[in-house]
């Protein structure tokens, strides 16, 4: 049962990932990426981490990818042409893929049999309450630092979005209009 589900979702994830890279139309790539995120979420559920799965869907599939799709739709991006420049990157890509496969093979063949795998409290790992308790007790400092980082990113995004710096956007528009009318 578990194995069947794993094969199903892992196959979906890999298929969507390949389709994401292979598609020429950016919107199809984006849709494939959403497929990858959702199948990964399903895998998390089978691994007993429903909270991570839900957050994966809400944050990645539900928020970030909506913005990506939104931008693609607004700009009406055309199909990408296969550029000769990219051909130079093919050997590099093959090399990196080989490294990844070597890593995966190393983990499968050498790390799996480690005898002292921590097994304590496996029943409540991945539950919302245990994640919350962990975030606000033992990992409070990293949590707060991440929050501040996110806050900085928000402030930065708003500052960049307003081209006239920190002044209200109107201030830069009004004189321009007056100048045009004065002519």
């Amino acid at each position: 049962m578990e194995a069947a589900l794993f094969i199903l979702f892992a196959g979906m994830a890999i298929g969507c990932a390949i389709s994401m890279v292979a598609q020429r139309n950016p919107l199809y790539s984006a849709i494939s990426l959403i497929g990858v995120f959702i199948s990964l979420a399903c895998l998390y559920v089978t691994l007993g981490a429903p909270f991570i799965a839900a957050v994966q869907v809400i944050v990645y599939a539900g928020a970030i990818m909506v913005l990506v799709v939104f931008v693609i739709m607004l700009l009406n991006v055309e199909e990408e042409e296969r550029r000769p420049r990219l051909r130079l990157l093919v050997p590099l890509a093959i090399g990196l893929a080989a490294v990844l496969f070597a890593e995966a093979a190393f983990i499968i063949f050498f790390v799996q049999a480690s005898p002292d795998t921590p097994t304590r409290n496996l029943s409540d790992v991945g539950l919302t309450s245990s994640i919350g308790a962990g975030l606000f007790t033992s990992y409070l400092l990293p949590f707060e630092i991440t929050s501040i980082l996110l806050l900085m990113a928000i402030v930065g995004a708003i500052t960049l979005a307003r081209r006239g710096g920190l002044l209200p956007a109107r201030a830069s528009v009004v004189p321009e209009r007056e100048r045009v009318e004065g002519k």
């Binding site: 049962m1 139309n25 919107l27 199809y28 849709i31 959403i34 959702i38 979420a41 429903p50 909270f51 799965a53 839900a54 957050v55 869907v57 809400i58 599939a61 539900g62 928020a63 909506v66 913005l67 799709v69 939104f70 739709m73 607004l74 539950l127 919302t128 309450s129």
Partner: protein, 362 residues
Amino acid sequence: MEDLTHIALKLMGILVAFTVVMTMVAYTVLAERRVLGFIQGRLGPNRVGPGGSLQPFADLLKFILKEDIVPDKSTRFVYFLAPVIATTAALMSVVVYPFGPEIHLPFHLPLIGDAIPLVVTRFDVALLYVLGVTSVGVYGIALAGWSSNNKYSLMGGLRSSAQMISYELALGLGLIGVILQSGTLDLYSIVEQQAGHLGISGWNVFWVQPLGFLIYLIAAIAETNRVPFDLPEAETELVAGFHTEYSAMKFALFFLAEYVNMFTVSMLATTLFLGGWNGPFVHQVPILGVFYFLGKVVLFLFLYIWLRGTLPRFRFDQLMSFGWKFLVPLAIINIVITATIEWSGAFDYVSKFLKTSLGWGG
């Protein structure tokens, strides 16, 4: 074998839940047309069957038999995918809602046992699951608008993505108050906690959450693209918005998705704020819970129809500033208030007072 029985039982549960929801959705459409007719001083469909009660089936037949027109320059694959995403995302959240308490049978059924839970599945993060599945539904509308290759459709799709992202935030923040109060994301436990005196006094809407309830209700109407937030399909500006180019069964799927969304959103409001299946005498007669639950959902559906009959549409800038500058800050204030009350333990005093001096169970 055990696995197979388990899967078969779950599938049966899903089937029953879907049948109930689909039937009620079909009759919501009829109710909407009749109630709108009443509000506007006309009759509405009353010819098919007694009082129009077979109208949903006539509509369905019409949708199936009509010609399915696909625009020439549409992006085929996405055009087909969009209604599928919209309907699937809308239907998927049905499985986590508790329709009633566990029902104990007087006899022993093979395979099932003597207790039937009226919820398909229970898990730790049911509420997050609902939010996640709902957030995927945006793609159905956005992709439909894009793939139709029609400027009105595209405008509708863009409007709806912007609107749904904005109001999802207010919706999620409005729910945090309830989560803080119950301390769990499991919908079944949240309902059980709201039992109270006669199954009424424990409802979350009475305990600090009236503000949260209001925020959720407004955001939910916006999430389902209903009047007064129906800008994605504003017929005076955009023909029919994102589904302008859809016909026959594909249009029916969007139609279905919209009404199922209305239904699930109402179920969530009932579950979180109005005590779910709690009501007088549920503990003695558990089957009453189903009727209380569906009755409360029907109240919300009526509210939807009533609003549609009486309110004008927002302008787009009004919609955005209302969401971001009013609802979101209000939701944050609600979180601060709830957290403060939870932290100070004010509720324990109140419920103790109610219990000792008025004899109300808390």
